[in-house]
């Protein structure tokens, strides 16, 4: 039953860093600040750290599950619930990853439609994007990882653009620290955790890691790096915007780019948005890859066909979301489902695996 991954297709353990980080750092970066600031005001950066740290526990649990069952999540589920049910339980994950793919792509297209091209066609751009993604996934998991790697390394220069906001930063915005109740902070942590999501892909590509033991450190480092980036960006945003101003900015990160002015470029946000294409490309590809991979594991559909099938579904469903309200509903639901999977199902599976392991030993 176990599908062995050929040695040739495996990736070095430290590339897990890029996979985990890129999946967490995607379209959410463009506008998460407003949402957390609504709940916990300008203390929300504490929630960013809290939510980031909580992920390490989940990652630790995931590694425990995977190490015990030596496979991906489908192996783990089969281990706990038996073969049939284990596979059946994996089917919702296909839908989950399709939702993620839809969310990523639709949100990005919305950004393009609002900021760059009002008349950009959702369908045609998604089609081009899907073709690109299929081309990548056909190259195998190593190519997907490669795109993840470049998706982190190449746009890294964008981080420097945020230094332009420092002259406008007002630290007084952040003071006094801890001016909100613990309840607010926890609530904001919950909202922030939705932005952080994506690390659960670890459960699916684990068999592709060459030396899984060594990858642990890199996965945690990846999460830590994400937390660091989000925290710094949150602090910068809070110092840059006054609270009332941030409430009006749906895409705070993009709005921050508006102030960047260089001798050769008058306005930076257009470059930033275009470059964000590289950032979200690996996210979309990994989501599609995971969906098609589960399909293959569960139904024996060739992954080649699985990819085309899943991207067709994405292509059709993405046209259903037309207005901002609909897109927001999509984002909300995806976030909620992801939250329950990560903070509900994974700990549950973790304990079940531990129990079943004990039972089987006896």
């Amino acid at each position: 039953m176990e599908q062995l991954v050929p040695e040739k297709a495996k990736i070095s353990p430290f590339l897990v860093f890029f996979l985990v980080h890129t999946m967490q750092f995607g379209i959410g970066v463009l506008g998460y600040q407003r949402i957390i600031a609504m709940t916990a005001g300008y203390d929300a950066w504490i929630s960013v750290i809290l939510a980031g740290l909580s992920i390490h526990i989940i990652v630790w649990m995931m590694y425990k599950i995977l190490e015990t069952t030596e496979g991906d999540i489908i192996t783990a589920q089969s281990f706990v619930f038996g073969n049939k049910i284990g596979k059946l339980l994996s089917v919702p994950f296909v839908i989950y990853f399709l939702l993620i793919a839809d969310t990523i792509l639709r949100t990005y297209i919305e950004v393009i439609q609002v900021w760059m091209f009002q008349d950009m066609s959702t369908f045609w751009y998604s089609l081009a994007f899907c073709v690109l993604a299929i081309y990548i996934i056909f190259g195998g998991f190593r190519t997907v990882t490669g795109v993840a790697f470049f998706g982190v390394v190449l746009p890294a220069y964008l981080l420097f653009s945020f230094f332009f906001t420092i002259p406008y930063a007002d630290i007084k915005n952040l003071q006094p620290i801890f001016d909100h109740s613990i309840k607010d902070l926890v609530m904001a942590s919950y909202q922030m955790s939705l932005t952080y999501l994506g690390y659960e892909i670890l459960l699916f590509f684990y068999p592709y890691i060459k030396d899984p033991q060594k990858s642990k450190k890199w996965a945690h480092l990846g999460v830590l790096f994400t937390t660091f980036l989000y925290t710094s960006l949150t602090l910068l945003t809070f110092a840059y915007f006054s609270e009332g101003q941030l409430q009006k900015s749906i895409w705070a990160t993009l709005t921050m780019w508006k102030i960047v002015e260089m001798p050769f470029v008058e306005r930076f946000e257009y470059i930033g948005i275009a470059n964000w294409n590289i950032v979200i490309l690996p996210n979309f590809c990994i989501a599609l890859w995971c969906a098609s991979r589960i399909l293959k594991r569960v139904t024996k559909i060739k992954q080649k066909h699985g990819v085309i099938l899943t991207s067709l579904i994405v292509l059709i469903t993405i046209n259903l979301f037309k207005s901002r309200v609909q897109i927001n509903t999509l984002i909300d639901y995806t976030g909620k489902i992801a939250f329950y999977i990560n903070y509900g199902y994974i700990p549950l599976l973790f304990f079940l695996v531990l129990i079943v392991k004990k039972v089987k030993k006896k």
């Binding site: 393009i112 751009y125 690109l132 795109v147 050769f264 008058e266 275009a274 590289i278």
Partner: protein
Amino acid sequence: MGWFSKKHEQQVDRESLEQYLKRSKDYKKVSYTNQPTNNRFTFSFISTLIDESILQNNALPYLLEKPFEKIEDLKKLVAMTDVQISDDPSVIEQKLFNGYALLTLESDQKHFAFLAVQKEIVRSVTTPEVEFSVIGPKEAFVESIDQNVNLIRKRLPVKELISEELTIGSLSKTKVSILYLDGIVDPENVKTVIERLKNIDFDAITDSSYIVQLICDNKNSPFPQLLDSERPDRVTAILAEGKIAIFVDGSPHALITPTTLVEFFGSFEDYFLNWMLSSFFRLIRLFAVAFSILITPVYVATLSYHYELIPKDLMNTLVTSRREIPLPPILEALFLELTIELLREAGARLPTKVGQTIGIVGGIVIGTASVEAGLTSNVLLIIVALAALASFTTPVYKMGNAIRLLRFPFLFFAELWGLLGIVFCFCLLMTHLLRLTSLNRPFLEPIYPPRVTDLKDSLIRLPFSKQSMRPQTLRTQNPVRFSPPGKKSKKSDIDE
């Protein structure tokens, strides 16, 4: 010569072969009589392929005057090293066309001898033209494979340098040598190369470029996947790294495999300069490539879609230069790009002196005239000329061509979606490069998969003392090039 027989299994009738050969006027058959024994013997050869003076000076006098009975005696008789005796008629055709003279005795019809009397027409070793360098060795490969292997052997006088030979091409019977350093190279690679070469099914191979296209991993890629070089010093250095060189008879370019993208941007001159200078030049080249590919598409994207990006001080220049131009930016850019390509193509096809004139006529006359006529803007003219200039900085000619081609898809995407299109096209290119392999090794190495230690000689070049290890990606049998200078036990202070 076992390779050869597999394609010509059928026993050739000697008589019909001779009948066939007689159709060519340069087929000669001469008979003589040995004076002491009165034994008649006959020489058959293709006169255009052999050097008759060798036959007359080194073979005939002995054969006419010294007595001999059996064909085996010949070997002792003639003053030649390459004398082969055979009884297999099927090899006759091949030997004759390789420049051997066929010697038959009337007394012994079954056996016959081949004397090597090839006429060698070899161009003398000249200076490299494509990979010219100001400093460093000035020798370049020529069209003779023996001469070329000789140039390498002289530089690597060790027994570990193995030279395997194959014959490829159903018509051209081209001799191909595979050179590698045993004990360093990954045997898996050698096996793959030989297998791929053996699998080539092609009639006439006249240059190494044929081989490149026939054995590369992805035939639908504009990028060359085997590095070609005309510099023996470069090939030597790369052999020592643990790669494989392929020489093709009749081609002054050796092929090197496996290779990586960054290698195409390193000139061999980089190794003759201080590491800081060479790193700087490599970065300049990399920048030039990015510039060459992207600048015209960025111009098109900005002017068609993103006027917001243009600095206000530049706005005046751009608007005034484009005011009277009837073409939209994309057509304007295509017009100029194609003009430059035309000039390049015309210059390349014409003799050197005329070619230069074309360059001047094109550059100055057409350029200024089209600006004055209001067909193109002078800003774009500068941009396109700079981009063309930048594309010539790639040290490997074939890569330069690939880069010039890349500009066009970028232009189309820039026209389609502006900056977003450029980034999208970049993603396509990135994916293509990620999927590309050279001899099943990732083409983008050491950038991806990232190997930090291999970065020492890629985008930058660190000093030689840091280059003590061979590239990881080659999986060499002996990864140590030399033992790095040990750290001094005590750190020395000023004036000590």
